[in-house]
Symmetry: C2
Subunit: 285 residues, 2 copies
């Protein structure tokens, strides 16, 4: 749906490696397997042509640099190529399509390793730490939260984080399917709460001043248009300086997660409740 655009590319089964006849064509991997092999650098190296001046790593690095500096929208094939001093089309020798490039970029954005396992068996603390770490990645590369998702992570870095998250959650005693479900919940929530934070920040930046009531264009506009009969609760909310404040329930410990602490704590509370309900909680007591 909205997610992946590129259609012509990459969907059809390739006959071989690069030019359409690279491999012996009987053992060609198709679809996702191919993507995984690419991501993991499991490629044959019987290079016959001239020694490449460019490399996939260089392309991805340049793309990441552009995204870091100017956001994901600034990443175009032309732009990345210019940055490298090559032609646009040269990139296609090292990357199948832009979609491909984005996949590589995303994995590259998670190159920092998650924290190692903790042995005290406190799954909640471990999971919180994991969330914190994942969030830190996003803060380093905010665009990464906006890369269109195409299935579960397949790259070494993404999987390393998955592994670490599962480990923390499974420490609660949940079984594999449950742990995975929780991990998915956390992963998506983090990504999207982060996006929420960014969106709100951007919205605030785009209108003039910071988010306070009265001064805020949005609030003022709404007031002029909302019928108190129909939107009483909303107006009640607007009437208190809702948008100016620190989120409620803000706790110092969550500070590291910024305004997201509140939301994340709520979600973890929910997970906690679930763990307890299964009566398999290994921690705490």
């Amino acid at each position: 749906m909205g997610v992946n655009h590129g259609d012509g590319a990459r969907r059809r089964t390739r006959v071989g490696g690069d030019d359409g006849r690279g491999m012996t064509s009987d053992e060609r991997p198709a679809g996702t397997t191919r993507e995984i092999e690419l991501l993991w650098g499991r490629r044959e190296t019987p290079r016959r042509g001239p020694k490449p001046k460019l490399s996939r790593a260089a392309v991805v690095e340049a793309a990441v640099a552009v995204a870091d500096a100017e956001g994901l929208d600034a990443v175009s094939m032309q732009r990345v190529a210019r940055e490298l001093g090559f032609t646009t089309m040269s990139l296609y020798r090292h990357v199948d399509s832009k979609e491909d490039l984005l996949v590589f970029m995303q994995d590259a954005a998670m190159s920092q390793h998650p924290a190692g396992p903790r042995d005290d068996g406190d799954w909640r603390a471990g999971t919180e730490e994991w969330c914190h770490g994942a969030l830190a990645q996003y803060r380093r590369h905010p665009w990464a939260a906006y890369v269109p998702q195409s299935g579960p992570p397949s790259g070494p870095n993404g999987l390393r984080w998955m592994e670490a998250g599962l480990r923390e959650i499974a420490a609660s005693g949940l079984d594999a399917p449950e742990s995975l479900q929780i991990l998915l919940l956390l992963t998506y929530s983090l990504r999207d709460l982060f996006r929420m934070e960014q969106d709100i920040a951007r919205a605030a930046r785009e209108r003039g001043v910071p988010l306070d009531n009265e001064g805020d264009e949005w609030v003022r506009g709404l007031r002029g248009v909302l019928d108190p009969e129909e939107y009483p609760t909303l107006l009640w909310t607007l009437d208190q300086g809702t948008f100016a404040e620190e989120p409620p329930g803000y706790r110092e410990e969550d500070g590291a997660m910024g305004g997201l602490g509140f939301a994340i704590q709520r979600i973890l509370d929910g997970v906690d409740a679930y763990v307890r309900s299964t009566g398999r909680d290994r921690a705490g007591d």
Copy 2:
């Protein structure tokens, strides 16, 4: 006149309404206020030219139809215009930009009213119902979850849903900032859990068969590449038919929410815990 029609940008402060000198220019609304006025149809009607054959409503409707049928990516100005039998540029008479059109579309996608208030004071049931309703909207117009967000909703429909959600949550006794925070959490979570569901479904569709282990390309690919030393938990998870099953903790009552029931229940559990922790729970007891 050299300086004329809608100069597209919309970002910079306009001198007046539509064309640059529509209004008395001392009370010109700028930025978001303008957008809100547009969304609410609060426009002057001193139409002087020929009677329009096209209308904003028609444009939005056509765009929604295209998105419903072929996804958000199929929505281009050219496509919508063709659908209507007009030129591409004609659309710009009724919509400032594509971004604008998307805002209208999004509000249009939420045209169905939320359920009315319930008087039994059971905030959790009410909130669950609200989630269910919101999800139903998404199922009707999946693309709506992929429209790039630009700030809080400003249209009548979006705000109606906000109002309804706030009402349900506030029934728990939380104060305004808290309720709003929770509403934001729910709104974003819903949107994104829905997206997760869609993404997973699409991923399954794109590889061959449904999501089962062994048969799944992704799982097979990973197995070939994951070092058991480094990814033990992940492999443990893979080893159980994790992806084949119904999500754990699946309950009949959540059926209406599809596979998202589990995640939503976890989040509501977290909210519940928070409400209880404030000691202001009006419901239940």
